[in-house]
C-alpha cells in the first residue's frame, strides 16, 4: 500500500514539475511591459545555510519596491533558488535562470566557488549581475562588462583593519586566526600585505578547517605567540569556539574581525558575552540605526516578514540589491542590459544603507568594484556598537 502511494506521489511530483516549467520569449530577456524578472541563488540548506538569509533579504526589498508601485510601471518578479552551496547546483540554477525562466538580471548570490561556476556563463549570455555576496578580486579581474561588485574587498578590508590596529591603536604584536578557505585566505593576504609594508611579521598565523569543531590547539598556539591583538577571519561558529577556548586558558588579547561577523546580536548570544570588546568593521548601517532608509526598511520588515530576524545577513540582502534597483530607476522605461549598465556607471558615491557606491566605464578592475568603504565599531558589553570611525575608504 505504502509502495503504491509513494509511486503515485513520485509521479505526481514529477508531473507537476513538467507542468510548472514555463518559457518566455520577449525582446529583452526578462523584461515585459509590466514585469522584470530577477533571480538569486543562495544556500537555504546545508552547512552554509546561515548565509541564505541574504537571498531572503533581497526578497524583502523586492516586495517593498513592488508595494511602492514598482519602477517605471514595472513590478519585479523574484526567483530565489537554493543551491546548498554546491557549485554544480549553482550552475544548473544559472542555466535555469537564463534558458528556462529568462531573467533580466541576477542579484546577489553567495559563495565564490558557486559564483565562479556561473560567472562565465552569465557573462556570455549578457546577463547583468549585481552584487555577488563575497568580497574577492575574482569578480572584477578580468573585468566583466555585466558584473558589478559591491562587497568591500576582504583583502583591502584586512589591510585597512591591520593598519587601524597598528597605527591608531598602537598594537605591535599582531596574530591572525583564519578559516582555511577562500574567504579566510583573502584576509591573510590583506593582513600580510600591510605588515610587509611596515616590515613587521605576524607573530602567529593559525588556521582552522571549516569542519573543525575542536579549536583548543589553535587557542594554545595563539596564546603562546604572545600576541597583543588577534585578527579573526572566520565564520560565526569558529569565532565562538576560539573565543571560548582562549578564554579558558586565560588569553585575552584585543580581537578584531571582518564585517562578515558584524551581526553583534547573534555573536553576543553564541559567544555568551565574550564578543564584548571586539573591534568590528561594518559594511552597512547598524541594525538599530536611525538612518531614514533603515527606519523605512525596518517598518516594512515588521509588516511583510515579521518572522525573519533583523540580522545583518538578512538586511545585507537589501544592501547588495539597492544599487541594482537604483540602476533600473536611472535606466528609465527603456530597460535593456546596455541601458542598465550605462545607468550603473553614472552612480557616484550613491548611498543606500550600505557603503557609498561608485562605478565608471570599465578601464580598471576597481571601476567595477562599487563598495570601497567600511567603518569600524567596538562592541559594548551590552551588545550595542560604539562607532569608532565614519565611513572610510579602504582601497588605495
Amino acid at each position: 500500500m505504502i509502495k503504491r502511494v509513494s509511486v503515485f506521489l513520485c509521479v505526481a511530483i514529477l508531473s507537476t514539475f513538467l507542468l510548472s516549467t514555463q518559457s518566455s520569449a520577449q525582446k529583452v530577456r526578462g523584461v515585459t511591459d509590466t514585469e522584470i524578472l530577477i533571480g538569486q541563488w543562495g544556500p537555504q540548506t546545508g552547512p552554509a545555510a546561515p548565509w541564505g538569509a541574504v537571498a531572503r533579504g533581497t526578497d524583502l526589498l523586492v516586495k517593498i519596491i513592488n508595494e511602492e508601485g514598482g519602477i517605471h510601471g514595472r513590478k519585479f518578479k523574484y526567483f530565489l533558488r537554493d543551491d546548498s552551496y554546491q557549485p554544480a547546483k549553482t550552475k544548473a540554477i544559472a542555466k535555469e535562470f537564463v534558458e528556462q525562466i529568462g531573467v533580466f538580471a541576477v542579484v546577489g548570490g553567495v559563495g565564490v566557488a558557486c559564483g565562479m561556476t556561473a560567472r562565465d556563463y552569465l557573462m556570455e549570455n549578457k546577463v547583468p549581475w549585481c552584487g555577488p555576496v563575497t568580497g574577492v578580486y575574482e569578480w572584477i579581474t578580468p573585468i566583466q562588462k555585466y558584473l558589478f561588485a559591491i562587497y568591500p574587498l576582504y583583502d583591502d578590508e584586512a589591510f585597512n583593519l591591520t593598519g587601524y590596529l597598528h597605527e591608531k591603536l598602537g598594537y605591535k604584536k599582531i596574530a591572525m586566526f583564519y578559516q582555511n578557505d577562500d574567504y579566510g585566505k583573502q584576509g591573510v593576504m590583506g593582513v600580510e600585505r600591510y605588515l610587509l609594508k611596515k616590515k613587521i611579521s605576524l607573530v602567529a598565523k593559525v588556521s582552522a578547517e571549516v569542519t573543525d569543531r575542536d579549536l583548543s590547539t589553535h587557542a594554545l598556539k595563539l596564546k603562546n605567540s604572545g600576541a597583543e591583538a588577534v585578527i579573526m577571519w572566520t565564520m560565526p561558529t569558529h569565532a565562538a569556539l576560539i573565543l571560548a577556548e582562549t578564554a579558558k586558558i586565560g588569553f585575552k588579547p584585543q580581537w578584531a574581525t571582518s564585517n562578515t561577523l558584524s551581526d553583534s546580536a547573534l555573536m553576543m548570544q553564541i559567544t555568551k558575552g565574550l564578543w564584548a570588546g571586539m573591534i568590528n568593521s561594518f559594511f552597512g548601517e547598524l541594525p538599530d540605526s536611525n538612518h531614514p532608509l533603515m527606519v523605512k526598511y525596518r517598518e516594512w520588515h515588521k509588516k511583510l516578514a515579521p518572522q525573519e530576524r533583523w540580522g545583518v545577513f538578512y538586511y545585507a540582502g537589501i544592501i547588495f540589491a539597492e544599487p541594482f534597483f537604483e540602476g533600473v530607476r536611472r535606466a528609465g522605461r527603456n530597460l535593456t542590459p546596455e541601458t542598465w549598465i550605462s545607468a550603473m556607471e553614472t552612480l557616484k558615491n550613491w548611498q543606500g544603507i550600505g557603503p557609498p557606491i561608485s562605478y565608471s566605464k570599465p578601464n580598471h578592475p576597481m571601476d567595477r568594484q562599487g563598495g570601497k568603504h567600511v567603518f569600524y565599531g567596538k562592541v559594548k558589553p551590552d551588545g550595542n556598537i560604539q562607532r569608532l570611525t565614519d565611513w572610510m575608504q579602504i582601497t588605495k
Partner: protein
C-alpha cells in the same frame, strides 16, 4: 604546552568516545553502522534547547525530557525504517541510516532554521579547574567524567546483567536468541533507545562546548566513528581508548607538526593501525566459519 595539549586532547577525546559509544552499542547488537547518530543527537539537543528556551525549566528536567524524546526517536527509527528492510545488505542499511540522517538534518533546518545558537548549560564552558598547573575547563572535566561513568555503567551492563548479555547474544545469533526466549525485536528497540540517549548526552555536551546549529555533529560524528573503529567497534573499553588516543594524537599533531592536517591525521592513523590490526585495538574477533 605538552601537558596542556594532552589534557585538551583527552577532553575532546571524551566527546568522540561518547559518540563512538552510541555507535558501538548499535553495531554490537545489530551490525548496523548508524550514520544518523550525529543528527539524532543534534535533533535531541535542539529539543532540549526548545524546552529550555520556552519553559525555563531547570536543566535536569529538560535533560530528562530530552532523553525521553531520544528514546522515542531511536525506537521510531528502528521500528518504522530499519525493521521494514527485508534481508538488507550492509550497504543497504548504511543507506537507510544516511537517508534518515538527511531527513533529520532537513527537519532541523526546517524547524529551527540555520542560525547558530548558544546552548544554555549549567556548567560553564569558560571557567576552568586548575589541576597542577594544567587548565581544564569545567565542561571538559565533566565531559570526561560523564563519558567514563557512562562507559563503565554500560560495560558492567553488557558484562553482567541478563539483559546486557541477551543483547550481545542477539547480535551473535538472532535465531538462537529467539529460541532462548529472548524477544529479539524488543531487544533491538531497546538498543536503539540506549544508544540514542548516549548520543543525546554527547550532543548536549558538544553543543555546550561550542554552538548549536544543524551541522554541528558532522565532524564529531566522523571522529567518533573513527575512534570506535580504532578501538575495535565492538569493544566498549575500546571506544574509550580509541577516543583518547585520537584526541591526544590530533592535538599533539596540531600543536607540534601541522594544524592544517590536524583534522585528517586521525584517518591516516586509523589506516595504519588497521593495516596492522584489522579489527581495531581492543576487539577480539571470533572468525566466522565460511
Amino acid at each position: 604546552m605538552f601537558g596542556q595539549l594532552i589534557v585538551s586532547g583527552l577532553a575532546v577525546g571524551a566527546c568522540y568516545a561518547l559518540l563512538a559509544l552510541a555507535m558501538v552499542i548499535i553495531y554490537k547488537t545489530s551490525e548496523v553502522l548508524n550514520f544518523a547518530q550525529g543528527e539524532m543527537a543534534m535533533v535531541s539537543t535542539f529539543v532540549a534547547f526548545t524546552i529550555l528556551d520556552a519553559y525555563h525549566v531547570p536543566f535536569l528536567w529538560a535533560a530528562s525530557l530530552t532523553f525521553l524524546f531520544a528514546i522515542l526517536l531511536g525506537i521510531f527509527f528502528e521500528i518504522v525504517f530499519l525493521r521494514q528492510a527485508k534481508d538488507p545488505t550492509v550497504l543497504g542499511l548504511i543507506i537507510i541510516t544516511l537517508g534518515f540522517e538527511m531527513i533529520l538534518m532537513g527537519f532541523a533546518g526546517w524547524k529551527w532554521g540555520p542560525d547558530q545558537r548558544s546552548f544554555p548549560f549549567p556548567v560553564s564552558n569558560v571557567e576552568t579547574y586548575d589541576i597542577g598547573g594544567l587548565l581544564i575547563s569545567k565542561i571538559n572535566f565533566w565531559t570526561i567524567v560523564i563519558s567514563v561513568v557512562l562507559m563503565f555503567i554500560l560495560f558492567l551492563f553488557f558484562r553482567y546483567t541478563k539483559l546486557g548479555i541477551a543483547m550481545r547474544a542477539t547480535q551473535q545469533n538472532p535465531l538462537a536468541a529467539r529460541v532462548m526466549g529472548i524477544r529479539t525485536k524488543w531487544i533491538l528497540s531497546f538498543t536503539w533507545a540506549i544508544s540514542s540517549i548516549v548520543g543525546a548526552a554527547a550532543g548536549m555536551l558538544i553543543a555546550a562546548l561550542g554552538v548549536l546549529d544543524p551541522p554541528m555533529m558532522m565532524d564529531p560524528l566522523l571522529k567518533g566513528f573513527a575512534s570506535g573503529v580504532l578501538g575495535g567497534m565492538t569493544s566498549l573499553p575500546g571506544t574509550a581508548v580509541g577516543g583518547a588516543i585520537l584526541g591526544i594524537i590530533e592535538n599533539l599533531f596540531g600543536g607540534y607538526i601541522s594544524l592544517a592536517f590536524k583534522s585528517v591525521v586521525a584517518f591516516a592513523i586509523i589506516v595504519l593501525v588497521l593495516c596492522i590490526k584489522p579489527s581495531g585495538l581492543l576487539a577480539k574477533h571470533y572468525v566466522k566459519k565460511v
